[in-house]
Amino acid sequence: MITHMEPLTADRAPGQLPSGGPAVVVEGLTRTFGPVTALSRLDVSMPQGVVGLVGANGAGKSTLIKILLGLLPPTSGRASVLGMDCATQGLAIRQVVGYMPESECLPPDVSATEFVVHLARMSGLPTEVARERTADTLRHVGLYEERYRPIGGYSTGMKQRVKLAQSLVHDPRLVLLDEPTNGLDPAGRDEMLALIQRISTEFSISVVVTSHLLGELERISDHLVVIENGVLQRSTSTADATQLSGVVLVEVTDGGPELVARLRAAGAQVAEGTGPQVFTVELAGEWVIDAVRDGVADLGTGLVRMQRRRHHLTEIFRPEQEGAHVR
């Protein structure tokens, strides 16, 4: 079930969870605000690695994060982070968890360095360590000379990096990133996503990242959790979700149309591809592959590739997602 989930935690301090232990476990979690139900009997286990938390605005993502940080008591049910109970061990959790809020949260009149050093101390780091780690972390998120200038003059992308840096500076074991790609242009979005992936693979820090865009989380997540109106829709490992589909992509050097005609005659479902020599064929049975092989051999053409295509998560989720909230 849990795949690609082997964070490189072997070199980390003892007493930590085994690398396979879940980062977040939620059981029967319900939270209501008066008549409004933000979360309804949520049961989900999030492994270590990168977990994408997908849902529209108001789906309950922020409420879940507040509960996980120990800042909001659940109405009923239980939640634990890294094996610690959210209702009773909030302080201990917040010592080893980082949080990047969705909203603007940076004062304009201080430099990134000063601000992150301050917040590192607020996380319990001694001053010297706070300074060192701030310099390191700002470099890791891609802020260089500009880190000495007041934050007020930063671009949105730079501000997002500062927000990310403050969530990482105390070397947490888990970071909760709330809509980190919000407000970024496509290039900035890609950079941020790459950075988030590195947090898991290179920094060995587990990540829970929220977004209302499934497509971008699909690329970087090892596991996806979809909630809608406070109800769990799906919790699945990305590898499972993008398992092999029943479609084979075929590319030949020439004679594509003839091959397609042969296959159709044999009863296969064939769809046109991007060019005359490329097409996809429905894998109705082993005989389809044989038919492709025989056809290629008979026509004396060269077979460039036969590739089973993977599903994209967006395709899987589209029917249940699209109508409700495109954005």
């Binding site: 800042l71 009149d109 403050q166």
Partner: protein
Amino acid sequence: MSADVIHDIGFRHHDGPRLGRAWVVRSLLIETVRGVFGLGRPARSKVMPWALIGILLVPPLVIALSILLTGGNELPVSYTQYPSAMQLVISLFVAGAAPYCVSRDLRNGVMPLYLSRPMMRSDYVLAKLAGLAIALFGVLVATETLLLVGALLAKLPVGEQLAGWGGGLLMVAVLALVLSGISLVIAAFTPRRGLGVAAIITALLVVSGITQMLIAIANEKGYPTLASYLPALDPFALVDGVAVGILGVTPANGLTYPAGALGALVFGSLAVATVGACLAILVRRYRKVGGV
């Protein structure tokens, strides 16, 4: 390409100590005190506090000089009267500092970053209140001490001056707490800085003026007892009343306070209650803000 550089450096983990709430609160308190004086902030943030501190420190020098020249045998303004005499300047100082302490975090949405760290909401409130009170106390102690130095240079009796100075310190400690509490409450409800500054100045100066007026009316209508309790409405007079009641010093601004132990008790309790109420309001206020 910069990404290559990042890749080569590698991420270092922190295996050292992670300090607890006490360290966090202490760090926030120190940060607050530094910020009040504009340290670690842009140059223009330093102008106001230091200009006002300068103004507060000039009169003691003048007073010392005047005693030296005219040969008096006591200070024209006592240690406990001095803060009331400089009410305007002190009010301006607090009005500039309190919004920096809390409005800035509220306005810029920084609270979620504090709340997601190993501290409680009340820790934040306590650190901010203590930070502002300590900064203000520091300023007031400096003026009191300069007054003492001037008095000693003018060869006034040492014992008497030291006693007066001690009483002055006690009084400014209470004053710092009361003023910090009141101004932080106002600032915490006015995220916009300019508004906060104006509101605090208004609260401290206008209330004082209205109180004076009410006292005058009460005296005129023949209610001297009421008139003696009315100063409790004005933070400066309230603390002056505490000093008069406990230390037996001469009141500032020619005010009359209720005589005897009862007066001292009432004014003392009111001062404590003011600080307590401000703290309670702040804690309550911060229970709601900074929704993550």
